[in-house]
């Protein structure tokens, strides 16, 4: 009887030990992975899905890297501040030169890079247009940009592949000298593809115009503010139908509460 109890005791202990080891390693593993995916401040290839979806789908095969003719794309190694194995680029070193045929996108086997995000319809044919790419958005640091000091420099403006669309020059009188004018680079974030040619061209020691991930650099307005003078912005109001009210299942009563006289 004593023997059997000992065996059972050992078996239970062994199982508990096994579960413990797995829980322990699972926790460390999970902590590392969640940290790794949170720290992602990386610029992705054109056509990349939104970052969290991209991380789910990317199989880390590097085929986009292979087909990048300018060696722009790199696969992250563990020391990079990007989830290991995923493709990214550093515009200050090599920017994206926005190839018209976008060779990096169609080779993606898992659709982490999605052709549909770049597609436009032209002559009844769907085709990729690199100008639809949203790799990031250029941001100007007006303190270190010498054009904002009054020195003439339009390096980023000239380098921009969407010159006068994504970066425009704004003219302003220079009050300090009273006979010169400022030529200020201003980025239109709706047009900017985030290719980074401006960051690459910037003449300051550390670039005064830099490309950041769109979700890190841009804000977003909820539907309680609508540009009433803009038809396309009014379309956002249609989203109200999809949002369920907090306290009631009746969507219409919430939309029409001013008309219903319940006040």
């Amino acid at each position: 009887m004593q023997e059997i109890n000992k065996n059972r005791r050992n078996a239970i202990l062994k199982t508990a030990q096994g579960i413990g080891i797995f829980a322990f390693s699972g926790l460390i593993w999970g902590a590392y992975v969640s940290k790794a995916k949170a720290s992602s401040f990386s610029l992705r290839p054109p056509g990349a899905k939104e970052e969290s979806e991209f991380l789910k789908l990317c199989i880390k095969c590097g085929r986009c890297v292979t087909f990048c003719p300018f060696d722009t794309l790199k696969l992250a190694t563990p020391e990079d501040d990007v989830p290991t194995g995923t493709p990214y680029f550093t515009p200050r070193k090599i920017p994206c030169y926005m190839c018209v045929d976008v060779p990096c996108v169609p080779v993606c086997p898992t659709n982490a890079l999605d052709e549909k995000l770049l597609n436009i319809v032209e002559n009844d044919k769907e085709m990729m247009d690199i100008r639809n790419a949203k790799m990031g958005v250029a941001v100007v640091d007006i303190e270190s940009c010498v054009a904002y000091w009054g020195i003439q420099c339009d390096a980023c403006y000239r380098a921009c592949p969407l010159i006068d669309e994504a970066i425009k020059l704004e003219y302003k009188q220079n009050d300090r000298t009273n006979k010169h004018s400022y030529l200020l680079p201003v980025v239109d974030s709706t047009k900017c593809t985030g290719c980074g040619l401006c960051e690459h061209a910037c003449i300051t020691k550390k670039a005064a115009i830099m490309v950041l991930p769109r979700d890190k650099a841009l804000g977003s307005v909820d539907i309680n503010y609508i540009k009433g003078w803009d038809k396309s912005d009014e379309a956002r109001l249609n989203q109200t139908d999809k949002i369920a009210p907090k306290n009631s299942d009746d969507t219409n009563s919430v939309i029409d509460y001013l008309n219903s006289g319940d006040l």
Partner: protein, 273 residues
């Protein structure tokens, strides 16, 4: 030479695949693209790593994200190749980590590290790690093993640049050298576990002939997964345990020709039950 004929073949295939990938990716030749996670080989055949696809599926399945068709076709290509023919042969003939762990084992043999120390880990724990990697992929909604896999770090590193990925590879080497004999492949690697499960009914097997066996035990000493050789000297037939890597080290070291490559014998499996 006869003693290492399959070893040479394996190294030739392993290195050949890596060199082909490296050259084709470096010069952007369409012949072999990608790496062992997902690739397009011989211009048109897609292949993808079954564990990676499983993780992608599980992490994306919650929100119903569609995986590209090429990766899914690649999965089926791999399932057919290894499920029907080679089973866990991937580990011995393709996986580059095999060279690292075999080297650690080689050093162990030369310096005669003590391997008798009793260990409380089960060989089945690699299946536990496999389940754990899928569970973590589900909870964290990101492929969990892909982000830490030293195997990917190795082949990706060779093809696309290593960086500190070498630390992952080194840690596996040191683990196998100083901690546990065949520790990574035998106890931890969920990719090996995946291929074991895929190849449960694969055709390529090592076959044993009891009548020729002199019970010298050389095969069991050399085998990286010795628990699969439970039939040695007891009965003839194919080795049906799924953990067998088909690395053929046992065939090479056998002085009595009691082991050879053969086909899964389904009859024997049924009669045993």
């Amino acid at each position: 030479m006869k003693k290492i004929r399959f070893l040479i073949l394996r190294r030739f295939i392993q290195l050949g695949i890596l060199v082909t990938f490296f050259v084709c990716n470096y010069y952007a030749i369409n012949f072999f693209n990608g790496n062992l996670n997902s690739s397009k080989v011989f211009w048109i055949i897609p292949m993808s790593d079954p564990l990676s696809i499983a993780q992608i599926f599980i992490s994306g399945a919650i929100s119903g994200i569609a995986i590209g068709s090429e990766a899914v076709i690649g999965l089926f290509v791999v399932l057919i190749i290894y499920g029907v023919f080679f089973g866990r042969g991937y580990c011995a003939f393709v996986c580059p980590m095999n060279m690292i762990t075999d080297f650690a084992n080689f050093l162990r043999r030369i310096f005669e590290f003590n391997t008798n120390k009793k260990l409380n880990i089960s060989r089945k724990s690699k299946y536990g790690v496999l389940i754990l990697s899928l569970v973590l992929s589900f909870i964290l909604a990101v492929p969990a093993f892909d982000l830490i896999s030293p195997i990917s770090m190795l082949h990706r590193g060779i093809v696309f640049g290593m960086g500190f990925g070498i630390f992952g590879v080194l840690s596996v080497f040191l683990f196998d050298l100083f901690f546990v004999k065949n520790g990574f492949c035998g106890y931890i690697c969920p990719l090996g576990a995946t291929y074991s499960l895929i190849g449960k009914y694969s055709l390529l097997r090592v076959k044993h002939n009891k009548d020729k066996c002199t019970k010298c035990n050389k095969c069991i000493i050399i085998c990286p997964e010795p628990q699969v050789l439970d039939l040695i000297g007891k009965r003839s037939g194919s080795i049906n345990k799924i953990d067998c890597m088909k690395c053929a080290r046992c065939i090479e070291v056998c002085d009595d020709n009691a082991l050879k490559y053969g086909i899964f014998d389904f009859k024997n499996m049924r009669s045993k039950k």
